[in-house]
């Protein structure tokens, strides 16, 4: 429909930019710079969710006993088309944390097994691996220290080196599973997942791809990717309602994987086991249908082009205003999120050791928020671009952060 020359960009936004605000639920005066944490959804998606919610209420027995499973299956087949895999390889779950727990708590870890993770892995995943360590005998975590910026080759090389160092120990242990972020959370960096998967699998290591941020942000081809397990949140970048994620388990592993909450369908097969999660509200999962419909109006290419270019340009502008730099010099490592350094003079400033002060200060005084974090000895903020934002918004955010940091810096000068 659109050629690459007519895809929307920040200077030529087409259907995107502030005119999209009315499709969402933002109050006047509120600009959302942190889509990456919790996502948000459109009015049309909410209507779609309520349609499912109301249908359940009109006749709960008919809904649960006759209509629910086909409805869930239809969503799965839409996602399967979207991500190039089989409908029967997908299960809908609440969120990525549930998906990772589903896999990790199903796999039978044996003494001597090792789980490989990057130091930039998401905290809930780190804790889940720790739980596995705590509850099994001699199952340890192998952590690959990662300090961005690194080129794709450097990332793959670091991980391979960690694998080889482990093999050289010859202590009878084996790396059983690697958990790899496709797009890490903080810092937000797109990783070279295909080379990582190929390399790790060549050592006989199973790979769980934490793609929490991926669907709606990068194109996904699961057949090509060939991961052993994959999880992604639809409620982040796809615009479905919170509590809608999808877990990919290829057929050869399905007999091993059971839900975190065993149901009456236990041992009834993968589809049955994951279709019914007990009595709950399924309308958030079903709202994925509404999300896909909304996006079809514009097409994935248009959304991706706009958001990505806006992220790159927005990052440049904020770095200029702050007199700093963005974390990654590689544009392909940026999806829709960028990390820009905050010019704090004292990295040990008490008000930045936890997020409490900044959460309060940014929301109460400026009515906006972008999360901040330490990495590589510096202080950064992660900013999310989106179809409802324009370049001006990043100028504003840059100025706000400048003011906030100048204030904090003044406090250290006694």
């Amino acid at each position: 429909m659109t050629t690459s020359s007519t895809l929307p960009t920040p200077s030529n936004p087409g259907p995107f930019g502030h005119k999209q605000r009315k499709n969402f639920f933002f109050p006047e005066g509120k600009t959302e710079f942190n889509h990456g944490s919790y996502g948000t959804f459109t009015r049309s998606v909410k209507e779609n969710m309520m349609k499912w919610h109301d249908r359940a209420e009109q006749n709960p027995d008919r809904w649960v006993r006759l209509e629910l499973k086909p409805a869930l299956r239809k969503v799965r087949s839409q996602l399967a088309e979207f991500m190039n895999c089989d409908t029967d390889e997908l299960a809908l779950v609440q969120n990525t944390t549930t998906g990772v727990n589903t896999v990790l708590r199903s796999l039978k870890f044996l003494p001597g097994d090792r789980i490989l993770q990057l130091s930039t892995g998401y905290i809930s995943i780190v804790k889940t691996a720790q739980y596995i360590h705590d509850t099994h005998e001699n199952v340890e975590i192998v952590e690959v220290p990662v300090v961005m910026p690194m080129s794709d080759q450097e990332i793959v090389f670091s991980v391979e080196k960690a694998v080889q160092d482990h093999i050289a120990k010859k202590d009878g242990s084996r790396i059983r599973l690697a958990i790899i972020d496709w797009i890490s959370s903080m810092p937000a960096i797109v990783h070279p997942v295909k080379p990582l998967i190929d390399m790790l699998q060549s050592y006989g290591i199973q790979v769980l791809i934490d793609g929490a941020h991926v669907i709606g942000q990068l194109p996904i081809d699961l057949k090509f990717l060939n991961a052993d397990f994959f999880i992604t949140n639809c409620h982040k970048w796809l615009y479905s309602v919170r509590g809608s994620a999808v877990l990919y388990v290829p057929k050869r592993y399905q007999n091993m994987i059971h839900p975190t909450a065993i149901q009456g369908n236990y041992q009834g097969g993968f589809e049955l086991e994951f279709s019914w999660k007990g009595t709950m509200d399924y309308s958030t999962m079903l709202s994925i249908e509404g999300a896909l419909e909304f996006r079809k109006q514009y097409g994935e290419k248009a959304i991706m082009n706009y958001n990505h270019k806006l992220a790159v340009q927005g990052g440049k502008i904020m770095a200029e205003i702050l007199g700093t730099n963005v974390l990654s010099p590689y544009e392909h490592q940026v999806g829709y999120m960028f990390n820009v350094r905050l010019p704090i003079k004292n990295i040990n400033h008490p008000k930045i050791q936890t997020e409490d002060y900044l959460v309060r200060h940014l929301l109460d005084k400026y009515n906006l928020f972008s999360p901040s974090f330490m990495h590589g000895g510096c202080f950064w903020t992660r900013v999310s671009s989106q179809i409802y934002l324009e370049l001006d918004d990043f100028v504003h955010l840059g100025n706000v952060w400048k003011e906030v940091i100048d204030e904090l810096n003044a406090e250290t000068e006694y």
Partner: protein
């Protein structure tokens, strides 16, 4: 209209007060639809739905503020309100999605060892049975011991069967031990109110941990955890308490809390029971938030006493009416055992199937006459084939 014959003014089937068909307008039923199966998936009043939607909208207006600042105190408030209804400490409660999740939370946290045995009733709920079987499948030499139950049974007969099963196991002297018992407060199908306090005492007397599956209990019977002191307890608010689906409460007394972790470990792992269960990852918390307006709705209509009085008396009378029409009888209760009926009644169909119409405040006796006639027609047709 006759004056109430009870010593209190609580509503009954003959004196419904604010209940009966006049309640239908408060719910979301379409015209001509009568809900006889509240027990499976629950239903909620319009005000509770509106409240859920209001929370949903509130979150969207400033999602970072909601998730990072407001959510935990809001959920703590919900726990406090439920704690008031069921008489326990709010920090002994965790909000979870439903009973099956609550059962999995405990069973998959307890560190079962080879030689452990798990006791359950043959009438236990299917998901619970499967979860126990999963534990047995995944940990060596952990086995299931089943108490065979066929109703009708008196309370004493139920207790005797359980005690006999425990004693029989003791006599094996094979080094195994019954570690945990799963006990229904109100079983699902058939639905029978069990003598739960005596069961808890009996089993704890043998050193067995007791997990009370109270899926159907809150809102249907009076729950007093301070009196019951089970080792674990789970109940669905979205069944009989009128909250929106996906809202249940797990009780873990302080002395067991260090053992129990969520089915999905989060960033708060090992920071304490309350914290670990406060955040369940990114999801829609509006169903849990709706518990507040559900409790408020019930308070406005006379509270637990009034509601339980009406629905119980209607179940008893309704059961009799249907049984008469069908020419059968209730599967239970036996004479003098009306207390085994909560809001659900089981009537034998004159074919070998169990049916149990379930009762609620929006129903009246004539609804039972109607369903009795519907079943009569269905069964007559089947019998003629």
């Amino acid at each position: 209209m006759p004056l109430p014959t009870t010593t209190t003014d609580l509503p009954t089937v003959t004196n419904p007060g604010p209940f009966g068909h006049q309640q239908r307008k408060n719910f979301l039923f379409p015209e001509n639809f009568t809900q006889y199966n509240h027990g499976s998936y629950g239903a909620f009043p319009k005000v509770v739905q509106d409240d859920k939607i209001a929370w949903h909208q509130h979150a969207e207006r400033d999602i970072d503020r909601w998730m990072r600042r407001e959510l935990r105190p809001a959920l703590a408030d919900i726990r406090a309100r439920v704690a008031e209804v069921i008489h326990c400490d709010k920090d002994e409660l965790a909000l979870v999605t439903n009973t099956t999740v609550g059962v999995n939370t405990v069973l998959r946290s307890l560190d079962f060892q080879p030689g452990d045995r798990i006791l359950q009733f043959s009438t236990g709920y299917m998901s619970v049975d499967k979860t126990v079987r999963y534990i047995c499948d995944t940990i060596p030499d952990v086995q299931l011991i089943e108490v065979p139950i066929t109703f009708p049974l008196t309370d004493q007969e139920i207790l005797d069967k359980v005690e006999n099963t425990v004693k029989t196991h003791q006599q094996l002297k094979d080094g195994s031990r019954i570690r945990l018992a799963m006990v229904d407060w109100i079983s699902s199908v058939p639905s029978i109110v069990h003598p739960i306090k005596q069961l808890v005492e009996l089993l704890q007397g043998y050193g067995i941990l007791v997990y009370v599956d109270g899926a159907h209990s809150i809102g249907q019977v009076h729950v007093d955890l301070a009196d019951l002191h089970p080792d674990f307890y789970i109940t669905n608010c979205h069944k009989w308490l009128f909250s929106v689906r996906g809202s249940a409460v797990l009780y873990v007394p302080k002395h067991h809390q260090h053992l129990i972790h969520p089915t999905a470990i989060t960033a708060d792992y090992k920071t304490g029971f309350v914290n670990e269960f406060a955040w369940m990852g990114t999801q829609d918390y509006s169903s849990l938030m709706s518990i507040r307006s559900a409790i408020d709705f019930r308070k406005q209509h006379g509270g637990e006493d009034a509601i339980i009085s009406y629905t119980h008396s209607l179940a008893v009378a309704g059961g009799k009416a249907v049984a008469e029409i069908l020419g059968t009888e209730g599967v239970t209760p036996l004479k003098g055992h009306d207390h085994q009926i909560g809001n659900m009644v089981n009537i034998r169909l004159p074919i070998k199937n169990l049916n149990n119409p379930k009762v609620n405040i929006y129903l009246e006796l004539e609804d039972f006459v109607r369903i009795g006639n519907v079943w009569k027609k269905v069964i007559d047709e089947l019998n003629a084939e």
